[in-house]
Symmetry: C2
Subunit: 195 residues, 2 copies
DNA sequence: AGATTAAATTGACCACGGTCACTTTCATAA
DNA sequence: TTATGAAAGTGACCGTGGTCAATTTAATCT
């Protein structure tokens, strides 16, 4: 009978992970998400390349952490604000988040790729934020109340779907931010206030 | 004053492009979209690597062609069918397309990445198919008529948004196809038949 | 203290998408 | 027929994400 396996996470490992995250955020702020190179991150963090992949499954996982964390901040601010009293106000509350999500094509791609929520296992920071978002939308909808005919959760999912669609259309077209806002407003109006 | 530049596309080039596409489709059918390697394509087509990139901007562009073409077939079949008389029938008509779009995570990612429509220039095969899809949805909605309060185009965009959302949720969760169908049905019911 | 073992880290190495200076082929002009 | 120039094609080379056998470090047992 062998001894019980001990495997406490060493402080050293946490520190290394932190160095990697800090270095990455720093490089991103100087350049962009798109331009981030793993080699630059490990050089800045002063560790070997293999160490990076011991802490993050792949480059995408690092991106998910950083982008998810930023989304969490923005969503927390949105949630803290007073419930919007109409749709234009709702759109305005979403602007900071929209601004971040559209700041780079690459960022949006990462977000979409990880946006699927409702997973039991394997749920990452971005999916978590989408859940959170949907819950906030649902709460907003309940206050008004918009669409009393359907479940609040469903109202929230719809808002989320239109939110994504409005942003996606923004990228592949020659549309300005203004177009995005007005498109999102029409979507939400049609979704929340059917005549 | 120099002579007018002549630049007809040679038959040779068309043949090469065709060889590349055929080889790629063949390899995909044997393996998967995900597993396709450019090196394998050029080997099978009997051309050099550089030739590949003279015909396709990047690997993604090849994927877009092939996936877009397959979507076009499926959408044409859908369009040819009789207008669905209710939402379950609508969902059923969409099943072949859903099946293809969910056949591989990779395929769905490529589709989403290129789904933005409405671009004047730079509009690729997948974006074209989305436009087509939205137009079909709009026509369906007009026949019934669902949502007479809003523009048919908007109805179509909404269907498209929910379509994507339903599929996206399917990937990051432990959801079966059945869940996808019922989710899509609730979405469409809420979107098209507000009480 | 020394032995033991798993966690943490290392860096040479690989896989694969993409580039580009150069060569070959083709169509037209002289 | 030959000369000319652009289109088509080539393949050695590069950048970058990711792997893994080997090494170092830290915690625990005797």
């Amino acid at each position: 009978m062998t001894k019980t396996v001990t495997k406490p996470i060493q402080k050293r490992a946490l520190a290394t992970r932190d160095k990697l995250l800090t270095a990455a955020k720093d490089l991103i702020s100087k350049e962009s998400f798109e331009a981030l190179r793993v080699e630059d991150v490990v050089r800045a963090a002063g560790v070997a390349k293999g160490t990076f992949f011991a802490h993050f499954k792949d480059k995408d996982a690092l991106m998910e952490q950083i982008i998810g964390a930023r989304m969490a901040e923005l969503i927390a601010e949105t949630a803290a604000a007073a419930t919007p009293k109409d749709i234009p106000e709702m759109v305005e509350l979403l602007l900071p988040l929209i601004h971040f999500m559209t700041s780079e094509r690459y960022v949006f791609d990462v977000i979409v790729r990880h946006s699927g929520a409702a997973a039991i296992s394997d749920i990452g920071p971005i999916a978590t934020q989408f859940d959170e978002q949907i819950a906030i939308f649902a709460r907003w909808a309940q206050k008004a109340p918009y669409r009393p005919d359907i479940a609040p959760e469903l109202v929230g999912e719809g808002i989320s779907a239109f939110f994504i669609q409005a942003i996606a259309l923004n990228f592949c077209a020659l549309n300005s931010r203004q177009a995005l806002e007005s498109r999102l407003t029409s979507y939400l109006d049609a979704w929340l206030c059917p005549k």
